[in-house]
Symmetry: C2
């Protein structure tokens, strides 16, 4: 495998395989270029394509990621993670994300809507639990992007990072059942359709119901 790979398809596959990443974060561009025996210019061209297709996520001083990147400067939230309960987080999500979905329905562009539908289908095609959770994560993140409001997006990212941080301490007790995944996927479809139909009220309600079910699952699982 020391022989350099050349074709663009090979490069895309190598990047998306995850072998050149550490915890969903790709190696720095300079290292990656050397590792793949390509110039940085060409590598960046391919990364641009992947980012346009929504397959990778880049942020300036932070890196390139296979999932939406973590919130920046977790100064306050880092210490918050200790004293925040899943209940607190769910309360906020239950208010924030339906509002974000409504705004996404109002302002989302045609391109983004097409991409959102594709991402929704990705959650259906997910082969295993890890793949489903990744697709689900990207789906929700895309909705937050479509709201076209940097404040909403920043708040969403902070909540998302905080959730992952607390999930870490609370020992990762997700373990969704297949029936729950099926139900979630149906709701994802309802949400995506409402947004693509530019129906803010419907999108808001669909997202609220979705999160209410997620909350119910969590409560069941931990009293």
């Amino acid at each position: 495998m020391t022989a350099p790979e050349r074709s663009a398809e090979d490069l895309r596959a190598a990047i998306l395989s995850g072998d050149l990443a550490e915890a969903d974060r790709l190696l720095p561009e300079r290292v990656l270029a050397q590792r793949l025996s390509v110039s940085r210019s060409r590598l960046r061209g391919i990364l641009d394509d992947l980012a346009r297709e929504g397959l990778i996520f880049r942020r300036h001083g932070q890196g390139t990621f296979l999932k939406p990147p973590p919130a920046q400067a977790m100064g306050r939230l880092g210490v918050l993670a200790r004293r925040v309960s899943p209940r607190h987080l769910m309360e906020v999500r239950l208010e924030l994300e339906p509002a974000v979905a409504a705004h996404a329905a109002e302002r989302g562009g045609a391109e983004d809507k097409a991409l959102l539908l594709r991402l929704m289908e990705d959650t259906l095609r997910a082969p295993d639990l890890a793949g489903y959770e990744r697709a689900d994560d990207i789906f929700h993140y895309k909705i937050a992007e479509m709201a076209c409001n940097p404040v909403f997006l920043t708040l969403f990212e902070e909540i998302r990072s905080l959730r992952q941080a607390t999930d870490w301490t609370h020992a990762r007790q997700s373990a969704l059942g297949p029936d729950e995944i099926a139900e979630n996927s149906i709701q994802h479809g309802t949400i995506a359709n409402a947004i693509c139909a530019s129906a803010p009220a419907a999108a808001r309600q669909a997202m609220r119901r979705h999160l209410e079910q997620v909350a119910a699952s969590l409560m069941l699982r931990q009293g």
Copy 2:
């Protein structure tokens, strides 16, 4: 005035006068103690009282303030302030604060409710515009505290700091008219009453209407 003041009342007055503060932030306790010729212990005792009464605000590594303190570690939001429009901010407030008011109505304690009513009356008694804006600020902050959810409170503080940061760049065009202040005060009363009556839906609606008027005033003032 080099003679030391001794009585507790004199000390309280000196602290609240603002002469020993810089931009709503009091001098460090050590300096303040020396300036007032008291021991730090006694000063802290008085500061404790003032904080309990809601007249000053303290935060560990940050300082002691005459108004609610700024959000901590404005990492992302600091750079956001440049590209965020008042419209973006208002959209978020319009979703967040009604939700916060609803939760405050659900969970607020009896003591906090009494204090909230007193703070509402303070907005009525405000002598000038600056005094009114300060009282208004404290009133809204108290509601966010009463929601008893550290995540909601943190988000609220970030939005509040972001608003002040953008107001700074956008050249402070507040200039509320007396009739607007009167209308706002009536709405504050409605909000406070709903919260004190433990009526979440009413509190949510009252806060939404209040913010809708604030938004309308802003739009009028800047197109």
